[in-house]
């Protein structure tokens, strides 16, 4: 092999190696051309990867469910009964969701003086007013779904089943704030009396 040919071949090999090494430096595996939630995208006209559902779209199962489940309205106005069985789990779920989404205005006891109200939001009515004590569970479901007065709709944030659970919890909260000793079941009262001494 002549010196000149040896050098040329080595240089060609070095150039090829360099090209291969540098081609590994791209970030095209890190940022792959796919749409991620809420990122921008050049695919859609409005530039958003996450698209809103076209207007009027409903889920397949919704067609077979009673429309009052979604509207909170019965034949004679607002529904007065939960569309599913009231269990302790429903109330506990309702309490959790109420504390997340409602308590900042309506307060933890439903009195309406939550932390956002203290910051200047128009105070909502207390849940313990006679007008609201007389309102059925569907009334509260409806307010969550469609908003009420200055309160925005929470339909996009709280799923239907959770809205019912919150409405049920509001009704339970009303009972708790206006209860007398006579409302407590005998065995619970017994238990309360026997432990009252221990608590104090």
């Amino acid at each position: 092999m002549t010196p000149r040919r040896f050098k040329a071949r080595t240089l060609a090999f070095a150039a090829l190696a360099l090209t291969l090494v540098l081609s590994g430096c791209g970030r095209n595996m890190y940022d792959q051309p796919r749409a991620e939630a809420l990122e921008s995208s050049r695919f859609f006209a409005d530039g958003a990867a996450s698209q809103a559902l076209p207007e009027g779209v409903i889920s397949r199962e919704r067609g077979s469910i009673d429309p009052s489940y979604f509207s909170g309205m019965g034949d004679a106005g607002f529904a007065t009964e939960l569309p599913f069985e009231l269990t302790e789990e429903v109330l506990v779920r309702g309490q959790e969701r109420y504390n997340i989404y409602c308590s900042m205005c309506h307060n933890y006891d439903g009195s309406g003086g939550g932390v956002v109200v203290q910051k200047g939001f128009v105070p909502p009515a207390s849940f313990h007013e006679q007008r609201l004590l007389d309102s059925g569970v569907g009334y509260f479901y409806n307010a969550i779904t469609n908003g009420f007065g200055r309160m925005y709709s929470y339909a996009s944030r709280i799923p239907v089943e959770d809205r019912w659970a919150i409405a049920a919890y509001v009704k339970a909260m009303q009972l708790s704030q206006n209860a007398t000793v006579d409302d407590i079941p005998e065995e619970v009262l017994e238990n309360l009396r026997s432990t009252a001494g221990e608590v104090r």
Binding site: A37, A48, V122, R150
Partner: protein, 217 residues
């Protein structure tokens, strides 16, 4: 016996060594730069179109994380809230404040606020918020004391080594589900004991957890 190498190969070998050394150092520098800056800016606040303050909303006011990040329990992504969520309160509170001008403009025009991404995992990593939250991984375990943060930044490196710290020993990090969103949660003294019970109760598959295909699928 003839010479196997021509005289100039001495110089060639010398320059190849020097050149190779320089190239190697350069390569390491560039790689270290990329690894530290764009993907690993731990503790560096990311500038945003609106100076949203978690310390006011989640700290002082005490809003639950889920008031805004509604999908964190059910979806892979813990959503950035839509402008509607901001306006739920700010249609009444601090209306016309210059700090909220971009929010108001977004609401009026129907165009989303373009927040800058803070946590961007590599696309060859599968990550699901709901899977973590429902298995007892607390928000603050990865995101830190968000309720004390003025801006928003990455609290952890999000490197594979960091992920594996927990995937290899989840019992050292898990909390009861009821404490996941509690920003003030402090791990108890018997964390390992509690963690092992939670691994059992939440059906955490400790055999599968450290395997490649759990995240690289």
């Amino acid at each position: 016996m003839p010479q196997a190498f021509p005289p100039n190969s001495n110089a060639f070998a010398k320059w190849l060594l020097i050149g190779g050394g320089v190239f190697f150092v350069l390569l390491i520098t560039v790689m270290a730069f990329f690894a530290r800056t764009s993907n690993n800016a731990v503790g560096v606040p990311v500038s945003q179109p609106v100076t949203f303050q978690h310390n006011l909303h989640a700290g002082q006011l005490g809003l639950d994380c889920r008031y805004c990040h509604t999908s964190v329990e059910v979806e892979a992504s813990a959503n950035i809230p839509p402008t509607e969520t901001c306006m739920t309160c700010h249609s009444q509170i601090r209306v016309g404040d210059p700090a909220l001008a971009a929010v108001q403009a977004s609401w009026d025009n129907g165009t989303p606020i373009e927040w800058n991404r803070v946590h961007d995992l590599a696309d060859y990593v599968y990550f699901n918020h709901s899977a973590h939250v429902n298995s007892g991984v607390g928000c603050s375990t990865c995101h830190g004391a968000v309720d004390e943060m003025g801006g928003m930044w990455k609290n952890e490196s999000l490197t594979m080594g960091w992920c594996l710290e927990c995937h290899r020993a989840p019992e050292e990090y898990l909390r009861p589900r009821s404490e996941v969103f509690n920003q003030d949660y402090v791990a108890p003294a018997n964390q390992t004991e509690l963690g092992l019970a939670l691994v059992e109760a939440y059906h955490v598959n400790t055999e599968k957890l450290p395997q490649c295909s759990t995240c690289h699928r």
